[in-house]
């Protein structure tokens, strides 16, 4: 990374001049090795790859002509570590340190492909040479996420080279605050954090609210388990969030901003911090932005591990240094928010959409999506799915297309059962409704919600009662305790669900859950409580039979609920390899050996002592011959 002129840009012309000079400079480098350093790829060891690439390039004397770029998340976490070599865009997956020498020698120097590192489509068996040819990317429409793979998140120069801060320049030079709000309203952009409130309307309320100062906030407290798109934007393209916030602040008339980032995301905190410093150095943030006289500063607050702080009023309390208790919102936070002042809170993905809209216009944005849900949405596709990763598609695409076309379907030939959308506040959607176009209204109608966009795919080995119990346990633990319906209601629902999973369910339990769920929905104080029953109610709606099997037959068809299953060994399939015997932590398995000598040598199949068995699944996992069965 080169460090050239960090003097403050005093005008829009200076910004464009800097952009041109960066582009000229970057064009000098013919080849770039873009290395995904998102959390997934880092966990696979991509951090080490950076050094190995640098060494290999130096050995070939290529360190000055080839740039190694550590980028943010490319989204295809399943096949990491990912490497893309530009300008051709050659796409390599599952790259290890041992492959690097060959990549430099063959692909970087000679332009040759290394076949074994290419992605092979599991269905067509065709090899993809570039990202565009991979099924996972082919069916996506990457806008918010588009630059993640193209820039080094720690380099503002990279962001400027791809057109960064042009939206801000346009907003400050061509649009009055009111016109800007009008544009965002017309685009139809709605909050990506879950609620789906019209962004432009929220900005307008805050602008018109009485009281000074006004605050512009970014919700980066992505608490839904199974959702990590906001993390990837903050880590991979932090400037897009900052740019959106500065534009919003200008429209609303605010000079102070906060970004509230989840405690578990240290890399996001680091990259946002670097981005803020860089933007300040260039006069894109701070006092007198681009010489226009507009001031805006941003501070980062780290969350401290409380799910409820994703709720707007709890988040604001937390920034103030208090316990994250939500309050009733008879008075909107746009009137009385942080420190009792008008505050506008949008989530990370919403802010990252703003520069795109300003750059390309409201009409362009609203041409994508459905009647009431415009633009694209980033989903995290996880669970029992072949292509785990982050997926950006236009609103209105069907769940089936996301799961099968982009996600590549269910692994190991298992059958699809349900998809949980919207995290703990969302619902489970069955196979029969997979053709539903995904937008805010449709999902709410099905008893789920957009939430932040987590899609957790479940196959026939997932028990929906266990999943409902899992979410209820989560919510019960995370409930702040302020209001009775949520605090007590989630606890009682959890007790009932726990009982059902233990085979102690009673016939009226399902009706009780429904009645209680509706009560909690109607009477809770904040969003956590009003949506807490969704996972239970939606599974009861679509999978009531499975509940009944648990209650009446005391059976768990998916083979998950421990008290309702037994492990046994099929003697015919057992090879007496003793792997299960070794794996068992409680010495519940006998046999699994060979006895006698010569001709008399016989196999003794393994046998599980049901009284000792703790149903930890270790034997089932250890057996390579599918001889340990669950019934």
């Amino acid at each position: 990374m080169s460090t050239v002129a960090t003097a403050k840009l005093a005008s829009l012309e200076e910004l464009e001049a800097l952009r041109s000079s960066i582009r000229v400079e970057q064009q000098k480098t013919q080849t770039t090795v873009a290395l995904c350093c998102g959390t997934g790829c880092q966990a696979y060891g991509s951090g080490r790859l950076i050094e190995v690439f640098a060494e290999a390039l130096a050995k070939e004397g290529l360190e000055d002509s080839v740039r190694v770029r550590a980028t943010g998340c490319h989204g295809f976490c399943e096949r990491g570590p990912l490497v893309v070599i530009h300008p051709k865009g050659t796409f390599y997956q599952r790259v290890g340190p041992d492959d690097v020498g060959e990549i430099v020698a063959k692909t970087v120097k000679q332009g040759e492909l290394i076949e074994r590192l290419l992605y092979v489509d599991p269905q067509t068996k065709e090899k993809a040479q570039t990202e565009e040819q991979v099924g996972f990317y082919k069916h996506q429409h990457r806008l918010v996420f588009g630059n993640n793979g193209a820039i080094d998140p720690k380099s503002i120069r990279d962001y400027l080279a791809v057109g960064g801060y042009a939206g801000l320049a346009k907003a400050l030079s061509e649009l009055k605050p009111d016109e800007l709000i009008e544009q965002i309203t017309e685009s139809g952009l709605r909050g990506r954090g879950g609620g789906g409130f019209l962004t432009g309307r929220k900005w307008r309320s805050c602008r018109e609210a009485e009281g000074e100062p006004k605050y512009v906030l970014c919700n980066g407290d992505e608490g839904d388990p199974g959702a990590f798109m906001d993390r990837s934007i903050m880590e991979g393209n932090p400037h897009s969030v900052l740019e959106g916030m500065v534009i919003g602040a200008y429209a609303i008339g605010s000079n102070h901003g906060y970004i509230y980032v989840r405690a578990e995301y240290p890399l996001a905190v680091e990259n946002l911090g670097i981005a803020i410093r860089q933007a300040e150095e260039l006069g894109l943030l701070g006092e007198d932005i681009l010489g226009t006289g507009f001031d805006f500063e941003i501070r980062i607050n780290r969350g401290a591990g409380a799910f409820v702080c994703g709720e707007s009023t709890a988040l604001m309390a937390s920034i103030e240094g208090k316990i994250g208790d939500p309050r009733a919102k008879y008075i909107h936070t746009t009137d009385v928010g942080l420190f009792g002042k008008p505050s506008n809170l949008n989530n990370v993905e919403t802010w990252a959409n703003v520069p795109l809209i300003v750059n390309r216009g409201a009409e362009w944005f609203s041409s994508m999506g459905t009647e009431k849900s415009k633009g694209t949405k980033v989903f995290s596709l996880v669970g029992k799915i072949n292509n785990t990763g982050l997926v950006e598609v236009p609103m209105g695409v069907s769940l089936r297309d996301i799961i099968y076309k982009v996600g590549g379907g269910i692994p190991d030939g298992r059958k699809f059962k349900a998809v949980q959308i919207g995290g703990p506040s969302g619902g489970c959607i069955p196979e029969s409704l997979l053709d539903t176009p995904v937008d805010f209204e449709q999902l709410t109608e099905l008893g789920a919600m957009m939430g932040s966009g987590g899609l957790i795919v479940m196959d026939e080995d997932t028990c929906v009662v266990d999943i409902a119990r899992y979410f209820m346990n989560f919510l019960c633990e995370e409930a702040c305790g302020k209001c009775t319906p949520c605090r007590e209601g989630t606890k009682i629902m959890l007790d009932i669900l726990g009982r059902i999973c233990q085979g102690k369910g009673e016939a009226e339990d399902m009706d009780k859950l429904e009645a209680l769920g509706e009560q909690v929905q109607l009477t809770s104080l904040c969003g956590l409580g009003t949506s807490a029953a969704n996972p239970v109610l939606s599974t009861l709606q679509y999978f009531r039979e499975e509940y009944e099997t648990h209650v009446k037959d005391k059976r768990c068809p998916a083979g998950v609920c421990r008290q309702l299953i037994t492990f046994s060994v099929t003697p015919e399939a057992c090879t007496s390899c003793a792997m299960c015997v070794k794996a068992c932590p409680v010495e519940a398995i006998s046999g699994g050996t060979r006895k006698g000598k010569g001709k008399d040598r016989v196999r003794v199949p393994a046998l599980i002592d049901q009284d000792k068995c703790i149903k930890c699944r270790a034997c089932h996992e250890a057996c390579k011959f599918d001889a340990v069965v669950i019934s």
Partner: protein, 161 residues
């Protein structure tokens, strides 16, 4: 490593905590931020440290204690030399994270949220680490282990010494 500092529980030098608090107070930062930085320094929040922070920030002790117990990232117990964190996010859950956590509890002889008496190990579960492609995920002293099976747990535990 913050964990290493917490070896002697009895005598705690609170001057670092006071210094951190005073610095933040001057900048007008919140008590949550102070506690985060103090925890980074000490590895956990002891009673003495909380008292010192409350005094320095001129707030009642109950307020500092309230925050320390409300937010799950604060720990009132010292962490072990090896800190093991099991992701219990939904993606990890459907891939059997509960069994992994249970096995770790069995093998280490401590429950989730506890530290072993010799301060060697501490075990914790978190809601989601956002590394869903790798589920079930176990993080040992900041090193990620992905697609963990029961057998991998044996290896992870064996490598802890």
């Amino acid at each position: 490593m913050p964990g290493e500092k917490s070896a002697s529980v009895e005598e705690i030098d609170v001057s670092a905590a006071r210094k951190i608090a005073a610095g933040h107070r001057a900048q007008g930062n919140s008590l949550v931020t102070v506690l985060q930085d103090v925890q980074t320094e000490y590895g956990y929040l002891s009673g003495e440290v909380l008292e010192a922070v409350a005094e320095e920030m001129e707030v009642p002790f109950s307020q500092a204690y309230g925050l320390a117990t409300f937010y799950s990232s604060f720990s009132l117990q010292p962490r072990g030399k090896h800190h093991i964190c099991v992701c219990m996010g939904t993606a990890c859950h459907v891939r059997g994270a509960a069994n992994i956590l249970e096995k770790l509890e069995r093998d280490l002889g401590i429950s989730s949220g506890e530290t072993s008496e010799d301060l060697k190990h501490s075990l914790e579960s978190v809601n989601c680490l956002g590394a869903c492609a790798l589920g079930p995920v176990v993080v040992v002293n900041d090193a990620y282990h992905g697609k963990v099976s029961s057998r991998d747990v044996d290896k992870i535990v064996a490598d802890l010494e």
